[in-house]
C-alpha cells in the first residue's frame, strides 16, 4: 500500500508555499540573531544607546588622536594660575581654585585642581582604561561561567557537585570586602610575576579579580539552561552520531544559551565599569598617574576638592552615568529582542 505519489507531492508543495520566498533562487535562513538584530534596529532607545556606546568606543580607541588635536596629554602638570585667567582672587600656586573651572580652548574640560592636569585628556584615556577592564573582565567571566556552567549541567554527578559547590563558595564571599583586601595583595605579591609591571599591573589585576568573581552568576544561569537542553532530542541525535562530549557542549548546546549569555554580558559590562570605578574610588584600583573614571572621582573627593571644584567630580561622574545607562538600556533591548515570547518583527 502506498499513497499516490501525486498526492504526496501536492502536500509537500502546499507545505512549501506557506513561505512566500520558498521558491526564490537564493534562500537564506534567518537565524535568531538576525531576527533579534531587526528588532533592535526598530527600537529607538536601543539604537541611541548603541550609538552612544560606539561613540564612546571610538573615543577610547582614538584617545591619543583626540588629545593630540587638543594639544594636551593626561599626565603633564600645569600651573593652575596659568590656566585660569582670573585676576580677581589671588592664589597660592598648587592650591585648588575655588568655583567651576569652565572649559577653555586650551583645556576643553578644564584642569584638575592642584596638579592642573587636563581633564579632557584624562577622561578619554580613562575611557580606555575603564572600558578595557570592563570588557576583558566580562569576557573572562563569560568564558569561565559558560564553560563551567555547561559542563556542570551536562556531566552532572561529581563534576556538577564540585563546580556547584565552588560556585556557592565564591558567591558566599562578601564581595566588596574581598575585592578590597584581595586587590592590593594580588598586586603586591603575585602581580609582578603573573600580571605584568608598571601601569598594566593594577589594570590586569582588576580584570582578573572582577572576572574571577563574576563568573558564578552566569554559570548558574547557564547550568539551569543546559539542564533542560541536554534532555532535548538533538543532543541525543548528536550522541547517536558518535559526537564527543566536547562537541556536544560547544557545538550543540552552547549556541542555544548564547542569547542568555549575550544578555548577561551586556548587563555585566556596566556592572564591571561601576565596580572598577568603585574600587578605584576606594583606592585599591587604578592608581595615579593612570587615569580612570573611578580614580578621577577618588581624587575629586580626596582633600574635599569637590566642595571647591564640583566640575572636577561632575565630568567623570557624567561619563560614568552615560556609559552605564547606555549599556543597561542596550542590555534591556537585547533581552527583549531575544525573547521568543515577544512579537515577531
Amino acid at each position: 500500500m502506498t499513497m499516490p505519489a501525486g498526492e504526496l507531492e501536492a502536500v509537500v508543495a502546499s507545505a512549501d508555499s506557506g513561505d512566500a520566498d520558498a521558491n526564490t533562487a537564493t534562500v537564506e535562513g534567518r537565524s535568531l540573531f538576525q531576527i533579534a538584530w531587526r528588532r533592535i534596529r526598530s527600537s529607538k532607545v536601543a539604537m541611541i544607546s548603541l550609538g552612544v556606546l560606539v561613540f564612546l568606543l571610538l573615543i577610547a580607541i582614538f584617545a591619543p588622536v583626540l588629545t593630540a588635536i587638543e594639544g594636551q596629554d593626561p599626565t603633564t602638570f600645569h600651573n593652575t594660575r596659568d590656566v585660569i585667567d582670573s585676576g580677581s582672587v589671588s592664589f597660592e600656586p598648587g592650591l585648588p581654585l575655588p568655583g567651576f573651572k569652565l572649559p577653555s580652548s586650551t583645556h576643553w574640560l578644564g584642569v584638575e585642581p592642584q596638579t592642573g592636569r587636563d581633564i579632557f585628556a584624562r577622561i578619554v584615556y580613562g575611557a580606555r582604561v575603564s572600558l578595557t577592564i570592563a570588557f576583558l573582565a566580562t569576557l573572562m567571566s563569560v568564558v569561565i561561567g559558560t564553560t563551567l556552567g555547561a559542563m556542570a549541567a551536562y556531566f552532572g554527578g561529581v563534576v556538577d557537585t564540585v563546580i556547584s559547590r565552588f560556585m556557592d563558595l565564591l558567591l558566599a564571599f562578601p564581595q566588596l570586602l574581598f575585592l578590597l583586601t584581595l586587590t592590593p595583595i594580588l598586586q603586591a605579591r603575585l602581580g609582578h610575576t603573573f600580571l605584568g609591571k608598571g601601569s598594566t599591573l593594577p589594570i590586569a589585576s582588576l580584570i582578573f579579580i572582577l572576572g574571577f568573581f563574576g563568573w558564578p552568576y552566569l554559570a548558574r544561569i547557564v547550568r539551569g539552561q543546559v539542564l533542560s537542553l541536554r534532555e532535548r532530542e538533538f543532543v541525543e541525535a548528536a550522541r547517536a552520531m558518535g559526537a564527543s562530549p566536547r562537541r556536544i557542549i560547544f557545538k550543540e548546546i552552547i549556541p542555544n544559551v548564547a542569547a542568555v549569555v549575550l544578555v548577561y554580558a551586556t548587563l555585566t559590562i556596566p556592572a564591571n565599569i561601576t565596580a572598577e570605578a568603585a574600587l578605584s574610588f576606594l583606592g585599591v584600583g587604578v592608581r595615579d598617574p593612570t587615569p580612570s573614571w573611578g580614580q578621577m572621582l577618588n581624587q575629586s573627593q580626596s582633600n574635599n576638592f569637590y566642595q571647591l571644584d564640583p566640575w572636577f567630580m561632575l565630568v567623570p561622574g557624567l561619563a560614568l552615568l552615560i556609559t552605564v545607562l547606555s549599556f543597561n538600556l542596550l542590555g534591556d533591548a537585547v533581552r527583549d529582542a531575544l525573547d521568543p515570547r515577544a512579537g515577531r518583527s
Partner: protein, 385 residues
C-alpha cells in the same frame, strides 16, 4: 491467514532471540533499570524503575520490527538501549555477531554509522541554532567519512532524496513544517547509510496526512538501502502497515512477538486483544456494534511491578473468565515468553486466539490507505503488501 505468512513465521527460531544466523540484531534478556536514590548526603539506592525488564527479539537486515505498547511500557527505552544511548543493566545486544552491550563510547564510534535513530519530536530533535546544512552534514563531520568540501553536495543529494528542496540548505529548522522537519531528521539518520534505524515514534507527532508520506518515505528508503527498522509506535495501524514482525510490550516486558500477519489475525495475548480493540474502526456502523475490551485500573508502577504475570492486575480474562486456581497461577508464577504457535511467542499462561478482535481491525492509517479487503461479515482476508 495465508500459509505463506505461517511459513515465514516458522522461520523465526524457537526463542525470539536465539541464534538466527541471518539476524542483523539479536537482543536477549535486555534489562534497563533506573536506580531510585534517596538520602541527603549519602544517596542510597532504594529501588529501581524497571523500564525494560527482560526483552528479547531478533531482526534481519532490511526487516521492520514494530514495537507497540501504551505509554510508559518501555518501548522507547528499549530503542534507546539498543542504540546505546542508554547503557543496558543486563542482557545482550548482538549486532552483526558482536555483543555491543558493554561497548564504551569509543568502541561504539565506528558502529554509530551503522545504527541510527529517528526521533519522535521533530521540534526537539533538530538544533534550532543550526542550519539544515549543518544538521544533515553533522554525521559526515563527526564520522569524517566525507571531506569538508564534499559535504554540501552530499547533504543536498540527501535533502533531495527525502523530498526537501536542496536550496533550503541555509535555512533554520523553525522555518519548516513538522513533516519537513521529520524529513530532515530522516535525512540525517540515513546520511551514513546505516543498517539499522531505531524509529522512536517517528510519526506520532505528525498530522495523519503527513504520517502517510513519512511512512512511505521510510519504506522507500528501506527498499533502496536495505535498512532494518525498529519502529516504536503506539499506533497499531501504522505498525501494521510498516512492520514485518511486531512485538507488544507491557510494563517493560514483552507480551507477544510474532510476524505481522499472525499478530493481527490471531492475537494470543489478552493485552494484545485489548490494544487492538482500542483502535477505532473507520466504519461507523461497525464501530458502534463492536465490543471493546476496556482495561480498568492504572498502569502499575514499573518500580514495583505486580508479582506473577505483570498484566494480571488489569487482565480482562483474569478478571472475568478464569477459575480461582488459574488465577492463582497468574498471581504467583510469572509466565515466560514461549512459543505458543509456530513462530508465535506469547507471555501468557492462558493464551487464546481471538479472531473476532482481529477481524474488527482493518483500519489502516486512513481507511483509503490500506488495501485491505473486508468481507460483508466484517471478516478480513489477507493483506497483500
Amino acid at each position: 491467514m495465508s500459509t505463506e505468512a505461517n511459513v515465514a513465521a516458522s522461520e523465526i527460531a524457537l526463542h525470539p532471540a536465539a541464534d538466527d544466523p541471518e539476524a542483523l540484531l539479536a537482543v536477549n534478556g535486555l534489562k534497563k533499570h533506573f536506580a531510585i536514590r534517596q538520602g541527603l548526603l549519602i544517596r542510597r539506592e532504594v529501588g529501581a524503575v524497571k523500564a525494560v525488564d527482560g526483552v528479547s527479539f531478533s531482526l534481519r537486515a532490511g526487516e521492520t520490527m514494530g514495537l507497540v505498547g501504551e505509554s510508559g511500557c518501555g518501548k522507547s527505552t528499549t530503542g534507546r538501549v539498543v542504540t546505546k544511548l542508554l547503557d543496558p543493566t543486563a542482557g545482550a545486544i548482538i549486532f552483526e555477531g558482536k555483543d555491543i552491550s558493554g561497548y564504551s563510547r569509543a568502541e561504539m564510534l565506528p558502529l554509530r554509522s551503522e545504527i541510527q535513530v529517528i526521533f519522535q519530536d521533530p521540534y526537539s530533535s533538530l538544533n534550532p541554532r543550526h542550519t539544515i546544512g549543518t544538521i544533515v552534514g553533522a554525521p559526515f563531520r563527526i564520522q569524517k567519512t566525507v571531506k569538508e568540501k564534499g559535504i554540501k553536495a552530499e547533504v543536498q543529494t540527501l535533502m533531495e532524496r527525502v523530498g526537501l528542496n536542496p536550496e533550503h540548505y541555509n535555512r533554520y529548522p523553525h522555518e519548516f513544517s513538522g513533516g519537513q522537519r521529520q524529513r530532515i531528521g530522516i535525512a540525517r539518520a540515513i546520511a551514513l547509510r546505516p543498517k539499522l534505524i531505531v524509529c522512536d515514534e517517528p510519526v506520532s507527532a505528525l498530522d495523519v496526512s503527513i504520517q502517510a508520506q513519512v511512512v512511505n518515505l521510510l519504506e522507500d528508503l528501506q527498499n533502496e538501502f536495505n535498512i532494518a527498522y525498529i519502529f516504536v509506535a503506539h499506533d497499531l495501524s501504522v505498525v501494521r502497515h510498516i512492520s514485518d514482525r511486531v512485538a507488544v510490550m507491557y510494563l517493560g516486558q514483552m507480551m507477544e512477538f510474532t510476524d505481522r500477519d499472525t499478530l493481527y489475525s490471531k492475537p494470543l495475548h489478552p493485552y494484545t486483544h485489548a490494544l487492538m480493540s482500542a483502535v477505532p474502526v473507520p466504519d461507523p456502523a461497525k464501530e458502534t456494534r463492536r465490543d471493546r475490551i476496556l482495561l480498568v485500573g492504572d498502569l502499575p508502577s514499573p518500580s514495583n511491578p505486580p508479582p506473577g504475570c505483570v498484566f494480571h492486575t488489569r487482565c480482562p480474562k483474569f478478571r472475568e473468565r478464569l477459575s480461582d486456581s488459574e488465577r492463582e497461577r497468574c498471581q504467583t508464577e510469572s509466565p515466560a515468553l514461549e512459543l505458543k504457535a509456530p513462530g508465535h511467542f506469547a507471555q501468557c499462561h492462558f493464551p487464546e486466539v481471538r479472531a473476532d478482535i482481529a477481524n474488527a481491525q482493518d483500519a489502516g492509517i486512513g481507511a483509503g490507505a490500506v488495501e485491505s479487503v473486508v468481507s460483508p461479515g466484517g471478516v478480513s482476508t489477507d493483506l497483500p503488501r
